[in-house]
Symmetry: C2
Subunit: 400 residues, 2 copies
C-alpha cells in the first residue's frame, strides 16, 4: 500500500479538496478557492497548476468577460475530457451514463429491466454493452477515471457483492467484479445501495445541498433509506448500513414483506402495497404505474386517492419515527416515493404532528428529491469519482 | 473570544488529550501515552510537566514496584485534589456526588424525590444543599473544576433549560442557572438529558467501552435513548436530539403516552405500562417497584411474568427498529430497562429475529449497563469534566 509518491499526503489531500470543490460547485476563482480551503492564493496557484498538468482542470476567464478590468481567472473542471461510467440498476429499468467531471450527464442509455425471473447474467451483459457503447461514443481525447453503480438491493461492504434473493435464499453475487470483467476496463467497479448513494447525491447536488444531517427515503419496488450525519453516511464504515424499509410500522395485521416479516415500512408503503390498496395488483410494477395512480387520484379517482392516503399514513409513521430517533434537518423523498409523498403530504404531516414531540416536530424540512429520476444515477457517478477525488494525480496516472 | 494565551491551540489540545487519557484509562506510562497520542516521549514529558505544575496529574512509580529495574514512571490523575460535582435527577430520587478526576465516586448524597406535584424549587434546593455539603466534606486542598447534571427530561441545547411539563404546558425552566445560583460556585452548571449522558458514560466507562457506535436505552418512569455515532452523540450539535421513547411501536390501540400520543415506545415499555400490565397500577413508581415485579416473576408469579413478557415484546420492536435504522454495534439497557431486559431478553431476541434482515440481525451485541444505577450519575460527572479536558490550564486558572 505504501510506495514512493511525489507529494506528501497533505499535498495529495489538498489536490483532492480543490478538485472536489470545482467538481461539486463548478468554476471557482482562485480567490474563492483560497477562502474555501483556508490557504493562500499562491498555494492555490501551485495546486491548480498540478491539476491542470494532469488534465483535470483548466484556467480560463469567466464566460462573457472581455477586455480591461475583467475578473481573475476561474478554475473549472475538465468536463470535456474526464468522465466516469455510472450505472443505475432499479426494479424496472437499467440506466448507464457517461457523467463528466463537474457532474453533467453527457450521454445515456436506458433499457426496461427484464421482468422478474430473468437471469443475473443478462443484467450484467446489458449494462456492459451500454458501457462499451458509451466509451466508444466518448470524445477521442477523453479518459474514464472510474465506474460506479447504484444497485437496488443490499450491498456487502468491502467486496461490493450484492445480496440477491432467489427467492429468499439470499445469495451473494459478485456483481461489481462481474461487471468489471464484462466491461474489461482497468479500474474497479464501485457498487452502492441505491438509497445510500441517493442520499449523498441529494446532499451534494440536490434538494439537500448544504444540509449535512439528512435522511433520504427512496422508493423503488421496495423502500430504502440513507442517513447522513455530518455529511457522512451512517453505517458506511462497516455492516450493511441502515434498513429503514424494514422498520416495523404495523405490528398487528401488517402486509407481508419480501423479507419474510409483516408490517415493515416497505410492505406498507412499497409499490406492492400501493397497487393492492388501489385495487390494481394485476398491473406491472414500475414508476409508470405509480405515476398513473397519482394521476388518477388527481383526476378524482376515489380508489386511487384512498390508496395514496392509506400509504401516506404508513409513510408518515415511518417518517415520524425517524424524526423521533434521528432528528434530521431534512427528509427527502425520492424514486417513486417522490410521487407518493407529493400526493400524500397531508397524511405524512398529520402523523408527524401526532407522533413527534413539540421540540422536534417543526424541525425537519420535508422535500422532494432535487434530482428527480436521476438521484441514484448521479449517486452512482459520485461513487465512480471517489477514488479520483481522494488522490487525483496517483489515480489519473493509473487511469490514463 | 481570542485573547493571548501561553500556548497555541494545538498545545492546549494536546494537554487536554493527555489528561483525558489518564482520566479515562487510569495511570499510564509515558511510553504508553506517546504511543496513544502519536508523539515522542519528550513531548509527553513537556505536557506532563505542565499538567503536573497545574496540579492535575502527578508522576510516580507504579504501585508495588521497588528497587532496581523497576518500570518507568506512570502519569496518574490527581484524584485526591481535583473533582466535579455530579447531580442525577431521576423520577424517583435525587443523587449528588463528588466525583474525582479519574472517575472514582468519592462521596455521595441521595434523597427520595418528592412525589409528583412537589415544586421545582424544592428540587433545586435539595440538590444545592447536597452540593454545599459535598464541598464542605472535600479535602482541604481540593478544587472543584465543574458541575454536571443528568436530568430526566428534555434539555434545550445551549442554555441548559429543561423542558418541564406541568402538565403538558411544556414550560422551559432555567434549571442549570437556578442550580448554579443556589450552589453559588464560580463555574457554570452543565445539564444533559439522562439517556444522552448515560450513553457517553457507558461508552467511556461502562459496557460500551471501545464501541463508538452504540445505542443506550434508559428506563426511568419513561424511556429515553442516546445514540453514539463514531463516539459522538447524535443530535448533539443542535436540536433536542433523539426522542427514542416516542417512536411509535403500536399504531392501533396503543397505551396513552404522557406526550399526548398513543402507542409510543415509552407508553408501551415504561413503568406505567409495566405496572398496569402486572395489575399493580396502584403502587408507586420507581426502580424498587420494577425490581419487585422482576423478583416476583422469577419467583413464579404469573401476572408479573406475563407483564414482563408483554413489555419485552414491545421493547423488542423498538430495538428491532433501531437495528434496522441505525445498525449499531452495541445496544445497552440501563436504568430500570436494565432489569426489564434482563427478565425479558427472549422476547426482545424474538422480535429482533422476526423483524430485522439476515445481514443485520446478528450484528448488535445486547448488553446490560456496566455502571448499573450509576450510569447517569457518571455521565453527569463527565459533563462536568468536559471544560477542564477541553483546555486544562485555561480552565484551572479560572477554577482555582
Amino acid at each position: 500500500m505504501s510506495h514512493p509518491r511525489r507529494r506528501g499526503s497533505a499535498g495529495r489531500a489538498s489536490l483532492g479538496t480543490l478538485l472536489r470543490h470545482v467538481h461539486l460547485h463548478g468554476p471557482l476563482s482562485r480567490a474563492a478557492l483560497a477562502r474555501l480551503m483556508g490557504v493562500d492564493r499562491s498555494t492555490i496557484l501551485t495546486l491548480t497548476a498540478e491539476l491542470a498538468a494532469a488534465g483535470l482542470v483548466r484556467q480560463e476567464h469567466p464566460i462573457g468577460t472581455t477586455g480591461v478590468g475583467r475578473p481573475s481567472l476561474v478554475v473549472r473542471p475538465e468536463s470535456e475530457r474526464v468522465y466516469v461510467l455510472a450505472f443505475d440498476v432499479s426494479a424496472d429499468r437499467l440506466v448507464a451514463a457517461r457523467v463528466a467531471l463537474g457532474g453533467p450527464i453527457m450521454d445515456r442509455r436506458t433499457a426496461t429491466r427484464p421482468p422478474a425471473g430473468a437471469g443475473f447474467d443478462d443484467e450484467v451483459g446489458v449494462l456492459a454493452g451500454f458501457g462499451r457503447d458509451l466509451h466508444a461514443a466518448a470524445p477521442a481525447n477523453s479518459v474514464c477515471v472510474g465506474t460506479g453503480v447504484s444497485y437496488s438491493g443490499t450491498i456487502s461492504p468491502g467486496d461490493g457483492k450484492v445480496r440477491y434473493r432467489p427467492e429468499m435464499g439470499w445469495v451473494d453475487q459478485a456483481f461489481g467484479t462481474d461487471l468489471q470483467r464484462a466491461l474489461d476496463i482497468g479500474h474497479p467497479v464501485a457498487v452502492g445501495n441505491d438509497a445510500h448513494v441517493g442520499a449523498m447525491a441529494e446532499y451534494q447536488r440536490g434538494a439537500g445541498a448544504g444540509a449535512p444531517n439528512l435522511i433520504y427515503l427512496h422508493g423503488d419496488i421496495g423502500v430504502s433509506g440513507g442517513i447522513l450525519v455530518g455529511g457522512e453516511l451512517l453505517g458506511d464504515e462497516g455492516g450493511y448500513g441502515c434498513k429503514i424499509g424494514h422498520m416495523l410500522v404495523n405490528p398487528y395485521d401488517g402486509r407481508h414483506c419480501r423479507c419474510g416479516a409483516r408490517g415493515c415500512l416497505e410492505a406498507e408503503t412499497g409499490q406492492s402495497a400501493l397497487l393492492a390498496a388501489a385495487g390494481r395488483s394485476d398491473e406491472q410494477f414500475g414508476r409508470d404505474t405509480v405515476r398513473a395512480i397519482v394521476r388518477d387520484a388527481r383526476a378524482g379517482n376515489e380508489a386511487a386517492a384512498a390508496a395514496l392516503s392509506e400509504i401516506g399514513g404508513w409513510l408518515g409513521i415511518g417518517v415520524a419515527n425517524l424524526v423521533n430517533i434521528i432528528d434530521p434537518a431534512v427528509v427527502i423523498f425520492g424514486g417513486t416515493l417522490r410521487e407518493v409523498y407529493a400526493a400524500a403530504a397531508p397524511q405524512v404531516a398529520a402523523r408527524i404532528a401526532q407522533h413527534t414531540m413539540p421540540t422536534t416536530r417543526n424541525r425537519p424540512r420535508l422535500l422532494l428529491s432535487g434530482l428527480a429520476d436521476d438521484t441514484t444515477l448521479v449517486g452512482a457517478a459520485e461513487l465512480g469519482f471517489a477514488a479520483l477525488l481522494a488522490d487525483p494525480l496517483q489515480h489519473t496516472a493509473h487511469a490514463v
